[in-house]
Symmetry: C2
Subunit: 216 residues, 2 copies
């Protein structure tokens, strides 16, 4: 038995690898774990069968035998704890890598998602320009702090870890806004993540889903 | 040596236990681990000494011997993995409890924080009423899903876990808005968390800091 994840049948990102299944695919590729994918439509995500696995009706989920998990962060951590390659052996370094996972999801991602949502849903509102500037500055504050901490290193804390995996997927959400280009070191950091063979395999797999769906 | 955490010297929540050190204090109390607290001012949080421990210049941090951690989620998980009382023994149940920690921080908290920030910082803007309604509905969607999953149980997945600890601290951020009162089961769930002796001890400890600071 190999684990099964869920992904969008029709990803709103048009195969750019910004849906959250990308994180799980990337982690599975990094640790060399084959997996199946079950595609779900937006309607199916809100049906009881999917809600039984994901209480908030989203993707991805992860099913392996008796275990059903949701939340991309939890799934990546679950994989990282059971396979070599995503967390250091040293106990303290391991806790620090996990701290970077939480930082990516709880400190960086919320203002980045908020900026993306305003760009998508508030474009026609009277307040759009003013809010966009405010949200951009919130993101810049975090990017400046992240850049200072990275300090020219390849990865956030020693070797590549699940913390970098999560951070790179969060930073990639900024590609549309152009904000990441203001921080050449962070752009290069994200590009280093995207250049990893495991990332490429994961990216190609999710793009193939979108390409196939577009043809049908 | 006992671990040292950081907390606000003058908490903007006026001792209502909504600052993120509360989560770490509560977890430390649940597992019976004594701790020291180092209070930091807003100015000190942005100084090099604090930034060396917390790259984003926030609280809480956690220092124990050679280990320095930031991100409340990572600190609570670190404690939960090293002490009995916050994670189940069964491996699958353990992964599910950790999934609830991520759900609290990445699915529930972002729209709740956004609602709180709009209430604080956008009150005088022309768009305030319209945005407030939109943000309230985003939070209600998540609360409705959470309520459905809780399904009348005492805790999210079996016995009380670090997942419940994080979720209760996130829901408590809604007290000011009154939104939680629309979901009596979730109000009762948060109240169950707040009634735990470990929560009370943690709450009293952070309130004592604020009370002492107000007197001086």
């Amino acid at each position: 038995m190999i684990p099964t994840i869920t992904a969008f049948a029709n990803s709103p990102d048009r195969g750019r690898g910004q849906a959250r299944d990308m994180r799980v695919r990337w982690a599975l590729e990094e640790v060399g774990q084959p997996y199946d994918v079950r595609l779900v439509s937006f309607a199916e995500m809100k049906q009881p069968a999917h809600l039984a696995v994901h209480p908030f009706g989203q993707i991805p989920t992860y099913e392996d035998g008796d275990l059903a998990l949701f939340e991309s962060g939890a799934i990546v951590l679950h994989l990282a704890e059971r396979h070599a390659g995503l967390l250091p052996d040293d106990a303290n370094a391991r806790s620090r890598a996990i701290a970077w996972m939480f930082a990516a999801l709880n400190t960086l991602e919320p203002p980045i998602v908020e900026l993306g949502m305003a760009t998508m849903f508030e474009r026609d509102r009277s307040w759009f320009a003013e809010r966009l500037a405010m949200l951009g500055d919130r993101v810049r504050t975090r990017l400046g702090e992240l850049s200072r901490r990275l300090g020219g290193a390849d990865w956030l804390d020693g070797a590549f870890s699940a913390g970098d995996l999560m951070m790179v997927t969060v930073l990639r959400r900024l590609h549309i806004s152009g904000l990441l280009d203001e921080y050449p070191d962070l752009s290069a950091y994200a590009a280093r993540g995207e250049a990893r063979p495991a990332f490429r395999r994961a990216f190609d797999a999710q793009l193939a889903v979108f390409t196939a769906a577009s043809r049908s």
